[in-house]
């Protein structure tokens, strides 16, 4: 069975239709890149998949392991294995980082019918994963994302992904705001989590992320539809020629 199936997905915010019938099937072990120009619906797609309020799905369905997600709230989807790495991770003043991570991990463990982690064991686990991502101890003690640089916020997203062990991860413009070194660390963090059990959707405007996180499939999103699908060479094609040609060809087609 496919891990994630997006079937003829139409979505709108208020009176504005944004997604116009997206079809996409992701199997375990696959990494799919979704590329597109600004305003093509990339972020909307990530929010609709993760269950953010305010988006209306007018047609179609999203299935995770064969189960429709449409009636599930964001937290239920997350506990079922969905993870969204935010383009702009949210600062939560006053919410302690460790308490936040532990609440998230315990929510997922409870859902899976497993024992919650004890505090000491959890701190050890977090420290080990954090070290791999170059996250300093003092960052872990701060309030969630407060006082973090852009690169630190992205690393913290990948840390959460590593701790939550999702079955499907959506990385929304994870490369935005990263310098070359930070991009490398974040990409290594993502790559270390690739495996036969997880599916990934890497949403990006630029090709550069995809030379670090090499996708199995590349889809071009334009005006709320996937207009072309290919392998990693399609990303290079975009890099070379831009989106305009592809969009024009799609219109002709």
């Amino acid at each position: 069975m496919a891990l994630l199936e997006i079937k003829n997905l139409h979505a709108r915010i208020g009176d504005t239709d944004i997604l116009h019938g997206i079809n996409l099937t992701i199997n375990r072990g696959e990494v799919h890149a979704i590329m597109g120009p600004n305003g093509s619906g990339k972020s909307t797609l990530s929010y609709v998949l993760s269950g953010r309020n305010g988006y209306e799905i007018t047609e179609g369905d999203i299935l995770l392991d064969g189960e429709s997600l449409l009636e599930m709230e964001a937290d239920e989807r997350a506990r079922a294995g969905m993870f969204l790495a935010f383009q702009y991770p949210v600062e939560l003043p006053g919410v302690g980082g460790m308490a936040f991570l532990r609440a998230a991990v315990n929510a997922r463990l409870r859902e899976q019918g497993e024992d919650e982690v004890d505090q000491l064991g959890f701190v050890k686990l977090v420290r080990a994963k954090a070290t791999e991502l170059g996250i300093k101890d003092d960052m872990l003690k701060r309030a969630v994302n407060v006082g973090f640089s852009g690169g630190e916020k992205k690393r913290y997203e990948i840390l959460q992904m590593a701790l939550l062990n999702p079955s499907i991860a959506i990385l929304d413009e994870t490369d935005s705001g990263l310098d070359v070194d930070a991009l490398k660390i974040v990409s290594e963090g993502v790559n270390s989590q690739r495996g036969p059990e997880i599916g990934m959707v890497v949403i990006t405007h630029y090709q550069r992320l995809l030379s670090h996180i090499v996708p199995d499939f590349v889809h071009i999103l334009s005006a709320g539809k996937i207009i072309k699908t290919g392998d990693k060479s399609l990303a290079l094609d975009v890099e070379e020629n831009g989106y305009t040609d592809l969009m024009e060809n799609a219109n002709v087609a």
Binding site: S50, G51, R52, N53, G54, E73, A74, D75, A78, R79, F83, L84, F86, P89, V90, L92, P93, G94, V95, A99, F100, A103, A104, N106, A107, R108, R110, E111, E116, A143, V144, Q160, L164
Partner: protein, 402 residues
Amino acid sequence: MSPDTITLSSVQNRAQERFTESGWPAKKSEAWKYTSLDALASASPQPANDISGAVAMPAGIAGQQSRLVFQGGLFRDDLSDALPAGVQLVMLGEDERALAAIDEIGASDNLVPRLTVAKMTAGISLRVAQGIVVDRPIMLQFVGGAPATASHPVIHIDVGDAAHLAYAEHHETDNGLSAPFIVVRVGGGATLDHIKLQLESATTQHLGLTCLSLGERADVNSMSLSLGGALSRLETHVRLDGEYGELGLSSIYLGKNNQHHDMTTRVAHEVANCNSRQIIRGVLDDKARGVFQGQVRVAPHAQKTDGQQMSRALLLSRDAEADAKPELEIFADDVVCSHGATVGELDETHLFYLRSRGIDEAEARAMLIDAFLIEAVAEIRHQGFADLFSPFLSGWQVPRKG
């Protein structure tokens, strides 16, 4: 009786005359603009003269305090603990200085010092001798009572020069009206840690006034929580009378259903070089209403005053309402004073971020409410008081899972 002699009955008689003259606050009275006492004035619960209600002793700081128990407004010496060495308890009538201070406050136009002194149900005076450090907090516990009765305890506390006192007030009565009047003189170089827990029954109206005066280099850290009661007003007046005084005066109110919480403070910087800092946080659900009125007055010669005040309210429901009225009256020119008041809702983006990590809505909201309050909670200096305080905040919220 010589004209110089001040007696409890003369002070009470004057309070009664003043109350008869001024009566309940008029509707258009500026100080009572947001809080109506009409229901109270018409119900007019009578001062308790018998012990009533059960004494369910609230938990304190396990085995670490000296309790003074007031049942339905009456002092229960027999249920109270012995006080630490250096702390003296006398009946109010035996303390002329305390009576004079109380009488003087009653002369200015205010409700509680008149009503409560006139109808006094218990009056005690506590004196902490000069230089004495009271490690074990004194807990004033107000319990019991009945809906038809009113409790009017009058308490004077004198913290001697260079002494240290920690005292807590725990108000959990079933009285129709609970109107404590507490006057505290903090001597030169003395420190005071104080918390007040307003956990009255759902039908109680609580009108409390605490008046503090600070001598030179006195240092006060005070936190109030207003959580119970149908209608409550926690009013605090502070006079900084000696230079280099330090005042931390913070409060939290949590309202549900039709509760009305009024936090009113009046801080007077009478002399130079004093600091005052107020952090107020309110969370209101259902149709609850919250009021913060904060007056900071800086006298003409009170230069180098630093007076800060920040009030924030969080509305969890469309029907909840928060009003804030900060007032700065500054007559000195070399001062740093600021105030701010905000009213807001939980941020949808914050909620979504937490929920996208699998944290359910109730827990996510609880985490954000805790985060909203944490800055005020962090103001509590006394660790035992902080430990006593925090469970009421989490207990107020929707029960958490796991």
